[in-house]
C-alpha cells in the first residue's frame, strides 16, 4: 500500500467512494442493478453541485420507456443521510438509478462534472423543497413546548404501560418457576408451543424485550445436559430481568435504565439528544453491518472515539426493503456529537450534530490481546449482566481456519486463543479474514462474548468488512 492515507479534498467537495455508495443499497439485487447502471452509457445531462462539501448529483437515465428517468440525490440530508428522488416507479429506496448515478459520480470529474452552476429545473425544485422541509424540522427553540395537558397525558400513558409490563413480568415469573418446579426434563418434549404463546402474551403486555428473550428460549437446541444447561442460563437471566423490572424503584438509576431498555421500553432519539450531555469526539467508524429479519433491516454502526477512547453503537432501521438512511462506511472518521442512551454500561448512542464532513481515517485504533477482550466483556457484565458481548479491538491475532472444529483467533505471542462464535459458521467474511492474514497476525475488531468472538472488521491495511 502506501498510498495517501487522506483522500484529497478537492475544493468542490469530496466525492464518495464506491463502497460508500454501495452501502446504501437496500438489498443485493439493488446493489447489482445499481452497479450495472454506474456506467456512462445510459446517462445524459448528469451533473453535480457542490456547496462547501454539501451538494447534490443529478442525471437522466435512459430506461425502457421513451422518457428517461430523472434522478437527483441530495448528498447532505437531515441527520446526515443523503436524500433521493427518482421519477422511476421502483419502490426500492434508494432505487438502482440513484445508486448508479452516485457510482458514476464517484468515478470523478470525467464521469460527472461538478460545478457551481444551478441544477436543471426539475432537480433544483426538488432540492429546494427538500431544504425547506429540513429547515422546518429543525428544532425551533422559540416554538411552544408541549402543553401541561400533553405532558399529563403522556405520563398517564407510560404509567399504564408500566403496569402492563409489570403484570407481564409477574406472569412470566410464574411460568419460569412452574417450569423449574416441574423440571426441565419433563418440559423437554412440549417446549416449543407454550413458549410461543408466552411470547405472544409478552407482546400484548407491551414488553417486546421480554418477548424476544422468550422466543430465544424456544430456540435453545442441543441434546440432554447441554440443552438443559443453556436453558437454565437463559431462564435464570430472564428471571433476573423480571425481578429487576418488578423492583425498579430499588435499583440505581443507571441499572434501572438498562432494565427498562432490555424489557423493551425504547426512548426517543430526539428527546435524548435534547436532554443528554453530548460527547463530542472524532468518531472512527469501526464497522457497519446490516441484518435483515424479513420485515426490518437493522443497521449497526460501531464507532470509536479517538480522544475519549469510548466505543458507541448506532442503530438504525429500514422497513419494507428500504436501507436504513444512516450510512457511515468503515474507515471514515467524523467530528460529531453523540448522546449515549442512559444505561449501566452505556454503548448505544444517537448521532447528534456533525461538525465537519467525514474524512478518511483508515488506521485501526490501538487494540489489546485476546485476554483483554475477554476481560473487557467480563467487566461490562458487572454493570449489565444481560450483555451477550462487548466490542473489542484485538491486535496481533492470527485466524486459524477450521471449518470442522470451529475457528480461532490465536494470539501471536501467548499461545492462547479466542474461539470464534460458532454462529459465524463458515461464512465468506471469515475466509476473507484468513486471506488477508495469510497466516500472519492482523488486527480485528468485533464483538467478544460468552459464545466467542464475532469478527466484524480487519485492516489490510485499509479497513475491510468481514
Amino acid at each position: 500500500m502506501g498510498g495517501p492515507s487522506v483522500v484529497d479534498m478537492n475544493p468542490q467537495g469530496e466525492r464518495w467512494t464506491a463502497e460508500q455508495v454501495l452501502a446504501l443499497a437496500p438489498d443485493v439485487a439493488s446493489r447489482k442493478a445499481g452497479a450495472e447502471l454506474g456506467v456512462p452509457g445510459p446517462w445524459s445531462a448528469a451533473g453535480a453541485r457542490t456547496e462547501g462539501g454539501a451538494g447534490a448529483v443529478w442525471g437522466e437515465c435512459a430506461g425502457s420507456g421513451s422518457k428517461p428517468y430523472r434522478t437527483v440525490v441530495d448528498l447532505s440530508g437531515p441527520g446526515g443521510g443523503p436524500g433521493f428522488h427518482c421519477s422511476c416507479p421502483s419502490r426500492k429506496f434508494p432505487c438502482k438509478h440513484a445508486l448508479g448515478l452516485l457510482l458514476l459520480w464517484t468515478e470523478g470529474e470525467d464521469a460527472v462534472r461538478a460545478s457551481d452552476a444551478a441544477p436543471p429545473g426539475w432537480a433544483g425544485e426538488w432540492l429546494e423543497r427538500r431544504q425547506r422541509a429540513e429547515r422546518a424540522t429543525e428544532p425551533q427553540p422559540a416554538a411552544a413546548g408541549p402543553t401541561a395537558a400533553d405532558t399529563e397525558a403522556a405520563r398517564r400513558r407510560s404509567e399504564r404501560r408500566a403496569q402492563r409490563i409489570a403484570a407481564g413480568a409477574t406472569e412470566l415469573e410464574q411460568r419460569l418457576t412452574d417450569l423449574l418446579r416441574g423440571g426441565l426434563a419433563a418440559a423437554e418434549g412440549d417446549a416449543y408451543g407454550p413458549w410461543e404463546e408466552t411470547a405472544a402474551r409478552m407482546v400484548d403486555a407491551q414488553a417486546p424485550g421480554l418477548a424476544a428473550r422468550v422466543r430465544e428460549l424456544a430456540s435453545v437446541t442441543g441434546s440432554g445436559a447441554e440443552r438443559a444447561a443453556r436453558l437454565l442460563e437463559e431462564c435464570a437471566l430472564l428471571h433476573t430481568l423480571n425481578q429487576g423490572y418488578l423492583h425498579l424503584d430499588r435499583l440505581p438509576e443507571a441499572l434501572a435504565a438498562t432494565v427498562r431498555t432490555r424489557v423493551g421500553i425504547t426512548s426517543d432519539a430526539a428527546t435524548l439528544l435534547a436532554s443528554a450531555a453530548p460527547v463530542r469526539d472524532l468518531w472512527l467508524v469501526l464497522a457497519q453491518q446490516d441484518s435483515d429479519d424479513g420485515r426490518l433491516i437493522t443497521r449497526k454502526i460501531w464507532l470509536h472515539g479517538r480522544n475519549t477512547g469510548r466505543t458507541a453503537l448506532l442503530l438504525s432501521h429500514g422497513a419494507g426493503g428500504r436501507a436504513p438512511e444512516l450510512s457511515l462506511p468503515t474507515g471514515l472518521a467524523l467530528d460529531a456529537d453523540l448522546a449515549y442512551y442512559p444505561a449501566a454500561r452505556p454503548l448505544r448512542a444517537a448521532l447528534g450534530a456533525r461538525h465537519a464532513a467525514p474524512a478518511p481515517s483508515p488506521a485501526p485504533p490501538a487494540g489489546g490481546d485476546v485476554a483483554a477482550a475477554l476481560r473487557a466483556y467480563g467487566e461490562a457484565l458487572r454493570d449489565d449482566p444481560w450483555l451477550e458481548s462487548w466490542p473489542a479491538v484485538v491486535s496481533a491475532v492470527t485466524p486459524v481456519p477450521d471449518p470442522e472444529h470451529g475457528w480461532q483467533l490465536a494470539d501471536a505471542y501467548s499461545g492462547s486463543a479466542l474461539p470464534v462464535d460458532p454462529r459465524c459458521g463458515d461464512r465468506t467474511g471469515l475466509w476473507r479474514l484468513a486471506a488477508i492474514s495469510g497466516g500472519s497476525p492482523v488486527t480485528v475488531f468485533g464483538e467478544c462474548g460468552h459464545r466467542g468472538f464475532t469478527p466484524l472488521t480487519t485492516w489490510a491495511p485499509e479497513p475491510v468488512a468481514l
Partner: protein, 531 residues
C-alpha cells in the same frame, strides 16, 4: 451453601418439586426462584471469568506474492464484477440497456494478468468462489489469485479444485528456479503439483521438462503418463522426437495415440515421413484420362502393425467403412507439403482445385482440413476455406469446418474473411466464426458486424434474434467504436407503415445502448488497469 453449576443443572432437570435443590431460599421465596437466582449468579460469574483457550496449530504463513497490487479503481471494479456473478447471466430475451458485467469478468481477468497484477487478498474468497462456479474462469482467476489463493484453498475443502492443476504453478511461490526444489516436487508432489511444475518448467526450459519427465516415465501410471505427455504439446520441437518415438511403444493405447499425434505435427519427424510414404502409395495423380488430370485414390487394404504403432486406429466407428477410415487417418498425419510434390503443383490452392475421382473428394478434403488445423498450415487452410463469398454449405453435409480452418490463419486475415462472410451472408451463420476472431475485432470486421446488425434492425426483426452476436459484439468490438455507434442508440420513430415487429425499434435502441455502454465500460476498465 456452595453448589456447583452441575448441581444446579441437575436440580433444574429434575425439578424443585421432586427434590429440594441445593440452594437456600430467602424468607418467603420459593425454591424454584431461589434456584433461578443461584443459576443467574453462576451464569454471570462464568461468563465474566472466561479465559482464552489454547491455540490450535497455526496455518503456515502464506507465500509472498511480489506482484504489484491493483490500482484502487481497478480493485473496486473487480469487487463489482465479482459481486455481480450471481446475476441473471446471458440468455436470450430482453436484457435491458445496462452492460452484462458477468460477461466482462473473463476479459478483465486476462487484462489484469497481462499487467502482472496480484489480486487483493480480501477478494480472494470471492474470486475462488467465482472460479469454482465457472470452470472457464479458472485459469485466469487462479493466475491472478496467485500463491496465496492456493494457500487458502488448502484450508477450505470447497476450493479443492484450485489444487487440481490447470491453474498456475502451485510451485507455491517457491519459484522452481532451483532444480533441486523442482526435483523434490516432481518426486514427492501431488499429481496436480507435478502437472503444474512440468508445464511451468516446459515454458522456461523445454528440454529440461522432457528430461524431468523421462526420469520417472517408466514408473508413472498410464493416466498420468497421458497427462504428462500432453503437457509436451507446448513448445514442441524436433528435439522431442526420440522421446515421443519411444512412447509409440507404450503399453497404453491412449499414450501411443497422443505420441503419434504429437509426432505428426513435427513435419520432419520419422513418423511423418512414414505416414507420407503410406499416403503417397494410396493417393496419386491420374493423367490417363482425357482432359484434366484427376486425383486417384486407392485406400489401404489393411491396417498393419506398423500403422497401428504409428497411431492409426484400426477399428472404425460404426457406420464407417474401414478403408476410408484408415485413409483419413493416414492423410491427416501426413505433412501437407507431400502433396504439392506428389501432384506436381506449386501451391495448396492448385492441389485443392484438382478434381478427385470416384467420389473420394469429401474424405480426402476432410482429412486435409484436419491436417491443416493440426499442422497450423495457413496456406492449406486458406485454400480449403475458399472465398468467404461462396455460399456456405448446408448444415451437416459439409466436410469443411470454417471456424477451425480460420483458427490457423493470421488474425488480420481471419477478421477480413469473416467480415466478407458477414457482408455476403449476414449474421445467421456467423456466431461460431466470430468466436474464433481475435479480440478486439480488427477492422473491417467490427464495421461489418455493426452494419449487419443495423440491416437486421431495418428489416424489422427483434434484437434478441441476434442476442448471441450482440453479446459477442459487446465483448469483442474495439471500445474505440463506441462514439461511431452512438447514433444507433437514438430512438427513431416507430415506422408508420406498420412494417417491422411492434416495439422492435425501442428494443433495438436499448440493445445498442447496452452495446455502447459496454464498450465505454471496457475502455474505462482498461484505463483503470493501466493505473
Amino acid at each position: 451453601m456452595i453448589s456447583t453449576w452441575d448441581d444446579l443443572v441437575t436440580a433444574a432437570l429434575l425439578g424443585t418439586g421432586r427434590r429440594t435443590p441445593p440452594t437456600r431460599p430467602r424468607p418467603g421465596q420459593d425454591a424454584a426462584a431461589a434456584l433461578l437466582d443461584a443459576a443467574a449468579l453462576r451464569t454471570v460469574q462464568r461468563r465474566a471469568g472466561l479465559l482464552p483457550v489454547a491455540a490450535r496449530d497455526l496455518p503456515d504463513a502464506a507465500p509472498e506474492d511480489p506482484r504489484p497490487s491493483l490500482p484502487p479503481a481497478a480493485r473496486r471494479r473487480l469487487e463489482l464484477l465479482l459481486a455481480d456473478r450471481t446475476g441473471s447471466g446471458g440468455g436470450a430475451g430482453r436484457r435491458g440497456s445496462a452492460p452484462d458485467l458477468v460477461e466482462l469478468l473473463p476479459q478483465w481477468l486476462a487484462a489484469a494478468n497481462s499487467h502482472g497484477y496480484r489480486a487483493p487478498a480480501a477478494l480472494l474468497p470471492a474470486l475462488l468462489d467465482a472460479a469454482r462456479a465457472r470452470t472457464d474462469l479458472r485459469p485466469q482467476a487462479l493466475a491472478l489469485a496467485g500463491p496465496r489463493a492456493l494457500w487458502l484453498a488448502r484450508l477450505n475443502p470447497q476450493w479443492k479444485y484450485a489444487l487440481r492443476g490447470g491453474g498456475p504453478a502451485p510451485a507455491a511461490g517457491t519459484h522452481p528456479s532451483d532444480t533441486e526444489a523442482a526435483q523434490r516436487v516432481w518426486q514427492e508432489g501431488l499429481f496436480s503439483e507435478r502437472v503444474a511444475l512440468l508445464s511451468s518448467v516446459r515454458r522456461r526450459d523445454p528440454a529440461g521438462a522432457r528430461e524431468l519427465l523421462a526420469t520417472t516415465w517408466p514408473t508413472e501410471r498410464a493416466e498420468d503418463r497421458l497427462m504428462f505427455l500432453d503437457s509436451l504439446r507446448e513448445e514442441l520441437s524436433p528435439a522431442d522426437e526420440p522421446f515421443l518415438e519411444q512412447a509409440l511403444s507404450d503399453r497404453s493405447r491412449n499414450v501411443r495415440a497422443t505420441a503419434a499425434e504429437l509426432l505428426s505435427t513435427l513435419p520432419g519427424s520419422a513418423l511423418a515421413a512414414r505416414m507420407a510414404e503410406r499416403a503417397r502409395s494410396c493417393v496419386g495423380l491420374d493423367r490417363t484420362g482425357d482432359g484434366v488430370p484427376r486425383i486417384a485414390v486407392e485406400a489401404p487394404h489393411e491396417c498393419d502393425g506398423g500403422m497401428q504403432r504409428d497411431g492409426i486406429v484400426a477399428k472404425p466407428p460404426s457406420g464407417r467403412g474401414e478403408r476410408s477410415w484408415w485413409l483419413g487417418q493416414l492423410v491427416e498425419a501426413t505433412p501437407l507439403d507431400t502433396w504439392c510434390e506428389r501432384f506436381g503443383v506449386t501451391s495448396a490452392a492448385e492441389a485443392v482445385a484438382l478434381p478427385v475421382a470416384d467420389g473420394w473428394q469429401p474424405d480426402l478434403h476432410a482429412a486435409w482440413c484436419r491436417a491443416a488445423v493440426r499442422q497450423r498450415d495457413a496456406a492449406w487452410s486458406r485454400a480449403l476455406l475458399g472465398p468467404a463469398t461462396s455460399p456456405p454449405a448446408p448444415e451437416g453435409s459439409s466436410w469443411r469446418d470454417p471456424a477451425k480452418l480460420l483458427s490457423a490463419l493470421p488474425a488480420a486475415e481471419r477478421a477480413e474473411w469473416v467480415a466478407q462472410f458477414i457482408a455476403t451472408h449476414g449474421l445467421s451463420e456467423a456466431f461460431r466464426l466470430l468466436a474464433v476472431c481475435a479480440v478486439p475485432w480488427a477492422e473491417p470486421l467490427g464495421r461489418a458486424v455493426v452494419d449487419a446488425l443495423d440491416i437486421a434492425r431495418d428489416a424489422g426483426s427483434y434484437p434478441w434474434s441476434f442476442s448471441g452476436v450482440m453479446g459477442l459484439a459487446e465483448r469483442c468490438l474495439d471500445p474505440a467504436e463506441a462514439d461511431r455507434l452512438e447514433v444507433l442508440t437514438a430512438l427513431p420513430d416507430e415506422p408508420q407503415d406498420g412494417t417491422g415487429a411492434p416495439g422492435a425499434v425501442g428494443y433495438w435502441a436499448e440493445a445498442f445502448q447496452r452495446l455502447v455502454g459496454t464498450l465505454r465500460l471496457r475502455a474505462t476498465m482498461r484505463a483503470e488497469l493501466a493505473g
